[in-house]
């Protein structure tokens, strides 16, 4: 579904990605772990071209992203994204946050979009928050709304950029539960995370990034119980 070939990205003199290669299959849940500065967020942000790679190729369903930059707005509709800082639109209610894109981009009727939004709010456990403004929600609630907003576009794949890192510890669980449910429903997901418990339980594959490449990858049992590389062992030793 997504194929990444030899992806390179620099910020000025700093080489962040130095040749990332991977394939992500439909319905797969890939958890990307690694130290800060290892390039995992940059990698994720390249997948919907929020960062433009310097070199390499990204194919979504066989279509090259970099050759179809003109269609990027349409391609991005297939790729939902959830951010560390939620990035809800503060001047809109929860309902408006969720329905804006389907109405404006898919030409959905307002009533239809609102009906769908209510379904999504039920799904993320916030059916009574539709009239609230984001500033009146807790961090965990904001992030669940952000997930609903991304889902409203019916994406084929969801990208999560450290979705629980800005949350108070007691709110991490509610967000991870929603994500777990999503994974169980067969959503294709790429999750950059520091939540090793979640990665181990929900991930089909763990990607350990270091020095701008995928240093080691494999099923959770292998990465967490029997990492092949010294670097991976060292990192896991620090975080587990």
């Amino acid at each position: 579904m997504i194929e990444v070939v030899n992806l390179h990205k620099s910020f000025g003199d700093l080489k962040v990605l130095k040749g990332v290669n991977t394939k992500i299959e439909k319905q797969e849940v890939v958890c990307v772990i690694g130290a800060s500065g290892s390039g995992k967020s940059t990698f994720l942000r390249c997948l919907n071209l929020l960062e433009e790679p310097d070199d390499g190729e990204i194919y979504i369903d066989g279509v090259s992203l970099l050759e179809h930059k003109k269609d990027i707005n349409r391609l991005r509709q297939k790729v939902g994204m959830v951010f560390q800082q939620f990035n809800l639109f503060p001047h809109m209610t929860v309902m408006e946050n969720i329905t804006l894109a389907p109405i404006k981009l898919k030409g959905m009727r307002k009533s239809e979009a609102e009906e769908k939004a209510m379904e999504l709010l039920h799904k993320v456990g916030l059916p009574d928050k539709n009239d609230q403004y984001p500033n009146h929600l807790s961090g965990g609630q904001k992030q669940r709304v952000a997930i609903a907003r991304a889902l409203a576009m019916d994406p084929e794949i969801m990208l999560f950029d450290e979705p629980t890192s800005a949350l108070d510890p007691e709110m991490v669980g509610e967000v991870l539960n929603v994500m777990k449910q999503l994974a169980n429903e067969g959503m294709t997901m790429v999750v950059v995370t520091h939540e090793m418990g979640f990665a181990r339980e929900v991930g089909d594959r763990i990607m350990f990034m270091d020095e701008g490449i995928i240093f080691e990858e494999g099923p959770p049992e292998q990465i967490f119980k029997n990492p092949q590389k010294e670097r991976t062992r060292e990192f896991l030793g620090k975080v587990l």
């Binding site: 707005n73 951010f83 639109f89 894109a101 404006k104 576009m153």
Partner: protein
């Protein structure tokens, strides 16, 4: 004591009442307010386009807007006014107030541009990313997400710019437009009294700007409450 009252009543009689001279102030104030209003409209629209040009990724737009803003902000407004009146629009049949509105509008646009640009840049960049990640184009993201939020940042500064603009229009007399300040000057020419008419002029400006500043304060409180 009597002599002070005599001096004051004479001053009021000669500067305001004789030949209905107060009408000069009333009409002058009308001209000043109209001029400020039209200039503010021209300046705000121009400023918005300049700001979008300055933020644009198209280099030539950005460069041209930058040059415009630098030239306008680097030269005195009174010089711009006389250039536009005598050199550029000198042969046109536009009324003076239109010429002055254009001149002040072109000037104000450069300042408004910077206000709007700062207001847009103050919106968290995650907002643009979130909008783009949903599939909105840059201009859709600006329209639905960024500008509505930027307005809150910009409005108070914009009202303040209008207050500045009202005071700046006091130089409209340079092109013989009978604004409030020039009304004072005309009366001075007839009464040979410099104090009374100009102190009255100053008092009227102060009165208007005080009202506007009070409204600005209310507006700022309203905007803060809705956060």
């Amino acid at each position: 004591m009597n002599s002070i009252i005599k001096v004051l009543s004479d001053a009021i009689y000669y500067n305001l009442i004789r030949e209905q001279r107060y009408m000069l102030f009333v009409q002058g104030l009308g001209i000043s307010l109209q001029l400020t209003f039209y200039s503010a409209i021209i300046g705000t629209i121009l400023g918005l386009f300049l700001a979008l040009a300055k933020l644009s990724k198209i280099k030539i737009f950005e460069r041209l807007a930058t040059i415009y803003v630098d030239v306008i902000r680097g030269t005195p407004v009174v010089v711009q006014l006389v250039i536009i009146y005598y050199a550029i629009l000198g042969s046109s049949s536009l009324p003076k107030i239109a010429v002055a509105s254009i001149a002040f509008g072109l000037n104000s646009g450069a300042y408004v541009c910077e206000l709007i640009r700062a207001g847009i840049m103050a919106v968290d960049k995650g907002q643009m990313e979130a909008a783009r990640s949903l599939g909105f184009s840059y201009s859709q993201a600006m329209t639905y997400i960024i500008i509505p939020q930027a307005v809150k940042n910009i409005l108070p500064a914009l009202v303040n710019e209008f207050i500045v603009l009202l005071k700046e229009t006091a130089i409209a007399g340079y092109i013989a437009l009978d604004d409030l300040t020039r009304a004072g000057n005309i009366i001075r020419g007839r009464t040979f009294d410099a104090y009374t008419p100009f102190i009255l002029v100053a008092a009227i400006y102060l009165y208007i700007t005080t009202i506007l500043t009070w409204m600005l304060g209310k507006l700022e409180r309203r905007l803060r409450e809705s956060d």
